[in-house]
Symmetry: C2
Subunit: 332 residues, 2 copies
């Protein structure tokens, strides 16, 4: 490995001068600077990040913990976070939590062990972080899901508002028997339950039935679960003319499941999702959905981490992403 010492020898200066050149510091004559740069180029020297880190206590890496990187929504989010982080000079290491509370708590511990400068946690299961190493000693920003009562910086989805707008849109299109395909534990405060409440709020506002048989539970937030739920809905014999799916991934599964039963979208049933994953524009039919501004969310999350790294003690702040209702073929 080529060290500063080697470069110094090659350029005939002290290693301190090399350090000054590498870090673009003042007080190096142009002649020496050129000589050093040339020596760096010839030797192929690279700064040793570990050594620098050891002194500075910073790694320049922030962790991003998501349930599974291969779910369209999280892949999309990760891409945006990686780009936003690069713009601020950070690298991103991805942890997969497997959508389990243990995995999410592990990610926190893990990040500390690896000395990430901060962690962006897309928590879907961890709802009692107070039992865990909450005060981790480094910045944690919650992204998009659970709410923790102001104890963390938090970038939230417009869950309630978005679901309400989606449901109202179905009503505007003439739907009268609107089902919701959702899941998880609805008596806790989380993204899924908030969306459910948005759905209820819209029904109430429009004076539509709130019929328990129109509530289709879901066994996980996967396409397969959505497909199975659609089968149950179709086989139940309940009259339904609109479906709100709790995520686009689920909605794409529902779309498939309705096709399995010969039901046409939007002809027989209108369908709307939540997230606006890229695939939503390309499904057949294309999927109407609630489109939170993901880029805004990613940028905000990285910005909050960066701010907190600089000022660990500033009060936490909560933010809700703007959204747009994307009306496509599935609700024509």
């Amino acid at each position: 490995m080529v060290t500063m010492q080697d470069v110094a020898r090659l350029a005939g200066v002290s290693k301190m001068t090399v350090s000054n050149v590498v870090n673009n510091r003042e007080g190096v004559s142009d002649a020496v600077r050129q000589r050093v740069l040339e020596a760096i180029r010839r030797s192929g020297y690279r700064v040793n990040v570990s050594a620098r880190t050891l002194k500075s206590g910073r790694t320049g890496v922030i962790g991003l913990a998501v349930p599974e990187i291969d779910r369209p929504y999280f892949g999309h989010l990760a891409a945006l976070v990686i780009d936003a982080a690069r713009r601020q000079g950070f690298h991103v290491a991805i942890e997969q939590t497997g959508a389990a509370a243990d995995g999410e708590a592990d990610a926190i511990t893990h990040s500390r062990t690896l000395h990430f400068d901060g962690l962006i946690l897309s928590a879907v299961a961890l709802d009692r972080l107070d039992d865990r190493p909450a005060e981790a000693g480094y910045p944690i920003v919650m992204l998009g899901e659970q709410d923790f009562g102001g104890r963390f910086d938090h970038v939230a989805m417009p869950n309630e508002e978005g679901a309400k707008a989606a449901t109202a849109h179905l009503a505007d299109r003439g739907c009268r028997r609107i089902a919701i395909v959702t899941g998880g534990v609805l008596d806790r405060v989380n993204a899924v339950s908030r969306r459910y409440h948005g759905y209820l709020a819209a029904l109430t506002e429009r004076g539509l039935d709130v019929d328990p048989s129109l509530f289709v539970p879901l066994d996980g937030l996967t396409m397969e679960a959505g497909r199975a739920a659609a089968h149950r809905l179709a086989d139940s014999g309940h009259e339904v003319d609109g479906v709100v799916a709790v995520t686009d991934t689920v909605a794409l599964g529902v779309l498939r499941g309705l096709a399995d039963r010969g039901l046409r979208v939007p002809g027989d049933i209108r369908l709307i999702g939540f997230d606006d994953v890229p695939e939503a524009s390309y499904s057949v039919p294309s999927l109407s959905t609630v489109a939170p501004d993901h880029e805004w969310m990613a940028a905000k999350a990285v910005e909050l981490v960066a701010q907190r790294i600089r000022a660990p003690l500033r009060p936490t702040s909560q933010h809700i992403a703007p959204f747009e209702l994307m009306t496509r073929e599935s609700t024509l």
Copy 2:
């Protein structure tokens, strides 16, 4: 920050003993070990990875460079690589290259700067790595795409074999005018051109037309490009009863584009893709495709990196993933 020195003081031993306990080394009496573990627990000590790295020269991190993490195929691949790496005790940092040769070369340089222990490079554009820092001084494994004439460890897709099988399958279903939707530069050796050759080989073997007008060029490997290609194909007036799409992502775009023109799959045109991304099972109609064993590929790539870290000088090896033909609704 709690250091080994602090723990040592707390437990009344030397920091060397703490180090031995932390690393599960022999030669520490049970009594002392317990005392140290207790001190670690009470103090909340964590090893400083930077310091350890500085000594060992290893970071425990391997880079994974992919074009864009939010493309379904690469998201899926990343998830598998992350899991496989964890099983071998590595962490994964993801770099996005933007499918450009510059980005891919940057990833190599970058990995060295960050002192990754190795790099798994899913190169799609870089075809002249010899002009670049090829002998990077640390393990590079090429995953799934370009071929570099044996200069790297390489885990390849069954490009030619798979595309041939896909085309033959369309022929078996009765297709006689089989188009291919593909792109990139076909005179270089890469995944796309190999698949094209597989397509040609199957046509020749079955005695079918090799008609240049059935070659639909593609402006990138995206859904949008696939959609546009389908539009051109439909509008061209050429008689076509089967389409081979060079990737599933493109195929899903083609599916959408054919729907835009009122063409039914598989009724009017049969369609087959390549990759078997998760979405392929859920599209309407579900997508027949060539399914390379992605898990096998991810595990093999990580294994090759790990082997090369241990033995940098062993000869490179090339591997081709097994595949399976998944026949679904789009070719019924």
